[in-house]
């Protein structure tokens, strides 16, 4: 008797927690859902509810991207620049993050805790300060790094995300495997390339994807470091929203949402496969 009411109450509690969670998630996703919804409006304003549904704004964006007027709004160029920056940032983070993760997971050395602390620093370091300081460094040195200055900035904030994923994957690898390879005559480098890298692949790839999407959507650092020649999509969106606020912006935004959701689902799928 007692047992039954106990379970009944537990079930009710679980249902309440589930209900609250679903409502909260709905609220959290509300702005994203709203952007997608309004991009299909048939009207010319952001009036809610939309007077009708249509693809006219996607049509307009398509003509901006592919049509003869492609140069006017520079949308296609901005999209390409953002994708290039994101890809380059991922590569830099892999090159910097994988060896450092390996060192931190497998080696014990004095000051290891300090090194790990330092590598986590970009997460808590205020992005605005990083952006302003990099801008000062670049303008004082007179160097023209082009896209490079944004890539380096993004790589700094992406590095901790890369390393956490890498380190988690590398911790799961039995060191005995490497020892065995070395006993059989493999060099340290070969043991790393043939044992550690393949086994940590999921962690490295999901870290790289995460860095890619963080860079693709990043605004603050791009805001300080963009130039007339390097004009990322986030800055394009910002300028458009300040000048002409048409639902076409919502169609472009929906495009970035689709890319982001796809990458996050891919990261989740990789994590799921590892389990």
């Amino acid at each position: 008797m007692n047992e039954i009411t106990h379970i009944g109450r537990q079930g009710l509690e679980a249902a309440i927690v589930k209900g609250i969670t679903l409502v909260l998630i709905l609220l959290l996703l509300a702005p994203i859902v709203m952007v997608v919804l309004m991009s299909f409006t048939a009207g010319a304003t952001l009036q809610f509810p939309p007077p009708g549904l249509s693809l006219r704004w996607y049509d307009e964006v398509w003509s901006l991207l592919a049509g003869p007027s492609a140069t006017i709004a520079r949308l296609a160029e901005s999209l390409a620049v953002s994708l290039q920056i994101a890809a380059a940032t991922s590569v830099v983070c892999v090159l910097a993050g994988v060896p450092a993760s390996y060192a931190l997971v497998r080696a014990r050395f004095p000051g290891r805790g300090f090194v790990e602390e330092m590598l986590g620093l970009p997460v808590v370091f205020p992005t605005v300060v990083l952006g302003v300081a990099l801008l000062m460094l670049v303008s004082q040195s007179g160097l023209d790094l082009g896209m490079g200055q944004i890539v380096i900035a993004h790589a700094i904030i992406g590095l901790p995300f890369m390393m956490r994923n890498c380190m988690a994957a590398m911790r799961g690898i039995d060191p005995v495997l490497q020892e065995a390879a070395k006993t059989l005559g493999a060099s340290s480098l070969r043991a790393f390339v043939e044992i550690v890298l393949p086994l940590a692949r999921e962690g490295i790839v999901s870290g790289a994807l995460l860095v890619f999407i963080i860079s693709f959507n990043e605004f603050t650092l791009s805001y300080f470091l963009y130039t007339i020649d390097v004009f990322p999509l986030s800055i394009w969106l910002f300028q458009q929203s300040n000048t002409s606020f048409s639902p076409a912006i919502f169609a472009v935004s929906t495009l970035t949402i689709v890319i982001t959701v796809a990458v996050i689902l891919a990261v989740d799928l990789l994590a799921g496969r590892k389990r």
Partner: protein, 300 residues
């Protein structure tokens, strides 16, 4: 180990590892492995030094003169108020985010469905990863004068455009909470997941009500995770820039927005640099609180 759990440990040191293959590795090899990442972090350190140097300069002679003038200016009530207000807004957002995050974290650790758990993770990650600019467009469509909320209220009450949440503090707070939910949920879920269900069962068998189970078992045991998440959100939002810039409509000024104004349009580099120095000290100082409130970090 999921990627999300891995992210939960961001900003915290981890437990010592078990295996050490590289015990014979020379110091040179180790240095080589750490060099590329070290260069990136070194640049971050160089940035801090540049800011520190600039903050002791005087306007239009930033690199050659030395002065405490910028810091003296910061003692002006106008700046003190903005600094205090920024910290207050960040603290408020941390408290609200923590409260909102609790049921989500609880659901994630208790649901028997692995699919639901993963979907919830993806859903709370999106507001953090999707461009804030894009989300601010969504907020405008919801909270704007002809937006969803005002239309709904108009339908219910017949009054037009009575709610104004956009471009004020409420809108900024909403954005701050929404974008930092995962920072609070992930450490919390890790802490909740480490509580043995047998403890709760034992308490129930001995006659404890659900409420007292929460009060005496769940909350105290999950505290390190709850505190770690709250501190992370607090520190993170102290540097808030995009949210107040886009959802505050120039009416909500945080330290970061002020830095932008001084460095950009106003060209007062020493003052902007001094504000930056204050912001860095605040953000890192708040993060150091983590050691005090959750000294063992067992949840990580």
């Amino acid at each position: 180990m999921s990627v999300h759990a891995a992210m939960a440990r961001i900003g915290r040191s981890s437990a010592p590892t078990s295996g050490t293959v590289g015990s014979r590795r020379t110091g040179w090899g180790l240095a080589l492995l750490l060099t590329p990442a070290g260069l990136l972090i070194g640049l971050l350190a160089a940035c801090s030094l540049v800011i520190l140097r600039l903050s002791f300069g005087t306007q239009s002679a930033e690199w050659v003169s030395w002065s405490l003038g910028a810091y003296a200016t910061l003692l002006d009530p106008y700046y003190v108020l903005i600094i205090v207000d920024t910290v207050w807004l960040a603290l408020l957002s941390a408290v609200i985010t923590t409260i909102v995050a609790f049921p989500i974290a609880l659901y994630m650790t208790r649901t028997p469905s692995a699919f639901m758990r993963r979907m919830v993770l993806v859903c709370i990650m999106l507001p953090m990863v999707v461009s804030l600019l894009v989300q601010s467009f969504g907020w405008m469509a919801i909270l704007g004068p002809d937006g969803l909320l005002n239309r709904a209220v108009a339908l219910a009450t017949g009054q037009e455009r009575i709610i104004s949440l956009l471009f004020n503090r409420t809108g900024v707070l909403l954005g701050l909470v929404q974008t930092t939910i995962p920072l609070a949920v992930l450490p919390m879920a890790a802490a909740l997941g480490s509580i043995p269900i047998a403890l709760e069962e034992a308490a129930s068998v001995l006659g404890a009500s659900r409420l007292s189970v929460y009060r005496t078992i769940i909350l105290p045991l999950a505290w390190p995770g709850i505190a770690a998440g709250a501190v992370l959100v607090f520190g993170f939002n102290t540097g808030a820039f995009v949210v107040p810039l886009l959802l505050g409509g120039l009416k909500v000024t945080t330290i970061a927005v002020l830095i932008r104004n001084e460095m950009g349009p106003l060209l007062n580099w020493p003052l902007g640099a001094a504000l930056s120095a204050v912001l860095v000290v605040l953000a890192l100082g708040i993060q150091a609180l983590n050691r005090l409130v959750a000294p063992h970090g067992r949840h990580a």
